[in-house]
């Protein structure tokens, strides 16, 4: 609880900073009135029209990736199991890129991205023969499916005319810049729905960290809860990627931060959602300001900053196994 409160406070701080900072500054004290439509017209335009949608997108996408990450990690009892590694992101990217370069008229890449992550998950589940055996097979097969889809993406980009390849390029990095309004709404609604469900499943998730016979002995239907976890992870990760592209490492970092804050007793669903939002918003803020007026995509920032941070976390954390 305390950990979640601290993370929530940090998220609020970064939200305020994100609303205030940009090519034109708005004093922090004036951001809240501007969000509500009060104050100078310039502030309202900057904050409410330009920056708020981006911040909402960052919050929703980060939270979604955080939820997906902690769910998959718990499912596999493996900290390396995230939407990046099990092929969900690759599937979404491949389909989004295909919709830009391979289909004559560009149709909503966001919708394609969602279909792509669902397809990757379905392929992995089908080839692995379900989610038994801790979902290990699902994860390993997912790795292979992701690699294949990644190769297809590269092939499409290599063969496409340069203009189309350029338009498809954002879908391979991850950024809050080119987002479809419909996708933001979808991922926001998804987070609002998935978060309570995942929190309600917390007791079952805690149990999933034990060996299968123990879990069955305690009367829990293992396959059922596992499928529910995979379904939640696919939808949250799919919608996140459909909105912002494959933001690398967020789903890996967020649960690490949340776990560090909350200790070993719980599976920190809420904490991971908050930490994910925090990471994405910070990455976006850094990307917008560090090299201004050039904007670095958030996906590049998460990779540059996240990689070393993750290494540091892994090297300084006493725990060797999964939570």
């Amino acid at each position: 609880m305390l950990a979640a409160s601290v993370l929530a406070a940090l998220v609020l701080g970064v939200v305020a900073a994100s609303l205030a900072i940009g090519t034109a500054q708005v004093p922090i004290a004036r951001t809240l009135p501007a969000v509500l439509g009060a104050g100078e017209a310039r502030d309202v335009l900057l904050v409410q029209r330009l920056r708020l949608p981006r911040v909402v997108a960052g919050l929703a996408v980060g939270a979604a990736l955080g939820i997906a990450g902690v769910l998959l990690q718990t499912l596999a009892r493996n900290r390396l199991a995230t939407p990046d590694t099990v092929g969900l992101n690759d599937g979404a990217t491949a389909f989004a890129v295909a919709s830009v370069v391979a289909v004559p008229a560009t149709v909503a890449p966001s919708a394609f991205a969602l279909v792509g992550s669902a397809t990757a998950a379905a392929l992995a589940l089908g080839l692995a023969g379900g989610a038994d055996h801790r979902g290990y097979r699902f994860l390993v097969v997912g790795l292979g499916v992701g690699a294949a889809l990644g190769a297809i993406t590269q092939l499409m980009l290599a063969r496409a005319p340069i203009d189309e390849a350029n338009r498809a390029f954002p879908w391979t990095i991850g950024s809050l810049n080119a987002r479809a309004p419909g996708a933001v709404t979808a991922v926001a609604i998804c987070v609002v729905l998935a978060l309570p469900v995942a929190v309600l499943l917390a007791r079952q998730l805690r149990l999933l960290r034990l060996a299968d016979p123990v879990v069955i002995g305690l009367g829990q239907r293992v396959s059922r809860i596992r499928l529910a976890v995979i379904a939640l992870a696919v939808v949250t990760a799919g919608l996140a990627v459909a909105t912002a592209g494959p933001l690398g490492l967020v789903a890996l970092l967020a649960p690490e931060i949340a776990r560090k804050a909350s200790g070993p007793r719980v599976v920190p669903v809420m904490g991971s959602a908050l930490a994910g939002a925090l990471v994405v918003l910070l990455a976006d803020l850094l990307g917008r300001t560090v090299a201004a007026p050039v904007e670095l995509p958030a996906g590049i920032v998460t990779a540059i900053v996240g990689g070393p941070y993750l290494l540091w976390l892994l090297l300084t954390t006493r725990t060797r196994k999964m939570p």
Binding site: L210, P213, G217, L218, G219, Q220, P264
Partner: protein, 285 residues
């Protein structure tokens, strides 16, 4: 799946002790085939577990002891035949209802790092909770009783990975005790423990039986099984080769049949139970 032909006798009242069990369930198997990953390990097994007593399942490695125990707790689904709880097929009951009546401690149970003894024991209350029925004073009391029974009150807030092997094993058993089931299944609860810690665990087993619970142990040491069980089930190659009170069942011939070992069977001077002294391995079969 074969239907239940003749319902077995129902529950019977037993003595009530501290961890009150008002009545104890009757667990049996009927022409049970069970295995996993496409193989059948245990074949056509008919078994009845004496209610309120300690039963030990013994036999060589790979004879199907653990698989059988897993089937009794619905970890493995029957390939044919049935496991019957009070005459009703286990597979047809709701998992949570089964878990309120049958507790299982599997082998080599591992816990997440940093988890405390109390956290682990609290897991035992899982089958008693639901979306609408969250943590209650009853659950807290059950956890306290289990910790007390396993003599772990002082270690309750220590992380499991900081405990000795014996203490950790007692914590796992306490988790099953907190489940407050009429039937307790323990897979090799004393393996990898020294003599003192073995006795600690086995004393706990006696307490459970004394409180009216049916206890089923998988043990690899025949003498330990004879000393601590009321009822012995000897298995080999997925079949029961002998069953009954240890003193009546254990003989040099049985030891030879089970393990391919020539042995002298003595009588324990204090308990009067059989003690097995291996002499040599015999080449056979």
């Amino acid at each position: 799946m074969s239907a239940v032909d003749t319902p077995l006798p129902g529950t019977r009242p037993v003595l009530i002790r501290e961890n009150r069990v008002a009545e104890t369930a009757h667990l049996a198997t009927q022409r049970l085939d069970v295995g996993y990953d496409g193989t059948t390990v245990v074949r056509s097994l008919d078994l009845e577990l004496p209610p309120g007593r300690v039963t030990a399942i013994v036999g060589p490695n790979g004879c199907g002891k653990s698989t059988l125990l897993g089937a009794l707790a619905r970890v493995h689904a029957p390939q044919a035949g049935a496991v019957l709880l009070d005459g009703r097929e286990l597979a047809a009951l709701r998992p949570r209802d089964v878990a309120r009546r049958i507790g299982l401690l599997p082998q080599q149970a591992e816990a997440p790092d940093g988890l405390t003894v109390r956290d682990l024991v609290r897991y035992g209350r899982h089958p008693h909770q639901g979306l609408l029925r969250q943590w209650t004073p009853d659950d807290a009391a059950a956890v306290h009783r289990a910790l007390a029974a396993a003599d772990l009150l002082e270690l309750a807030d220590r992380a499991l990975d900081t405990l000795s092997g014996g203490q950790r094993q007692r914590a796992w058993i306490a988790m099953v005790v907190a489940q407050e089931t009429e039937i307790v299944l323990l897979d090799e609860p004393t393996s990898a423990l020294d003599l003192g810690h073995q006795l600690e665990v086995l004393d706990l087993v006696h307490d459970l039986a004394a409180a009216g619970r049916t206890v089923v142990l998988v043990l690899h040491d025949l003498s330990t099984a004879c000393r601590h069980a009321d009822h012995l089930v000897a298995m080999r190659d997925g079949l029961v080769v002998a069953e009954g009170a240890p003193a009546q069942v254990v003989s040099p011939q049985l030891v030879r049949d089970l393990y391919g070992v020539e042995a002298v069977v003595l009588t324990d001077p204090t308990a009067g139970t059989p003690v097995v002294c291996p002499v040599r391995r015999v080449r056979e079969q």
